[in-house]
Symmetry: C2
Subunit: 142 residues, 2 copies
């Protein structure tokens, strides 16, 4: 098994995550994750998956499904510390060769610094209202 890549910053890990998602590359995807029993992945509308094996298996099924996804990211937020970084972002996901409109997804991504660089410990994605990013609903209510 080849050595895993080292991600010097949380941004590097996040870029690798979304690149692996678009390429449907299971090895690249799982290289982003910390090998920890307490890592958590929640796909939109799906159950909470805990641990490396369960998370790998879910990504494998998604990638084996054959849909090639294109993800555009917008409206990032970040709380950065020396050992952990918390990002949120709006994902605009489209299926290649499928023009149907997709609702945006809001994602929380958490990365932790270890001896081999930064790794993902949580990805929590859930559907967001189509017309809302940031604080838009707050703004339209007043």
């Amino acid at each position: 098994m080849p050595d895993k890549p080292i991600f010097p910053t949380p941004q590097d890990a996040e870029a690798a995550f979304y690149e692996a998602l678009e390429r449907a590359d299971i090895e690249a995807m799982m290289a982003v994750w910390a090998e920890d029993e307490e890592i958590v992945c929640i796909h939109p509308g799906g159950p909470r998956l805990v641990g490396y094996a369960a998370i790998r298996e879910a990504w494998r099924r998604i990638f084996d499904g054959g849909a090639r996804l294109q993800v555009r990211l917008s409206h990032p937020t970040s709380v950065q510390g020396p050992l952990a970084t918390l990002n949120t972002v709006i994902e605009h996901i489209a299926v290649r060769n499928d023009e149907s409109v997709r609702a945006p997804v809001v994602a929380t991504n958490v990365y932790v610094r270890g001896v081999l660089g930064w790794r993902m410990v949580l990805h929590h994605a859930s559907p967001a209202p189509p017309d809302s990013v940031g604080n838009a609903p707050h703004k339209t209510l007043h």
Copy 2:
């Protein structure tokens, strides 16, 4: 305005968060949150709210709605560091005096240690499949 409480541990902050939610106490709720422009709150099915003012306004509207909630927590996970803690938990939310069954909610809660103890910087809650907690779907597929 009274001094805000100090939460010596992430567990203290989390307990105060759910207690404030059940009591519909806006001041107690907002005392749990870090006063930071980058804090994020996502209610189930709702938009991403960013910043203290937007988050406070959303909680105020929920609490003003009058429904008194009871929350039972199960299946916690935790990744703890010296400066930040990442928890996930299954929330079983019921409305008092309303016997209708509620689907579980999966919540990600992130706390950061500051000079005045631990504060919440993210709450991301989304509906979970009714029959799934932990890795249950993984287990039933094989």
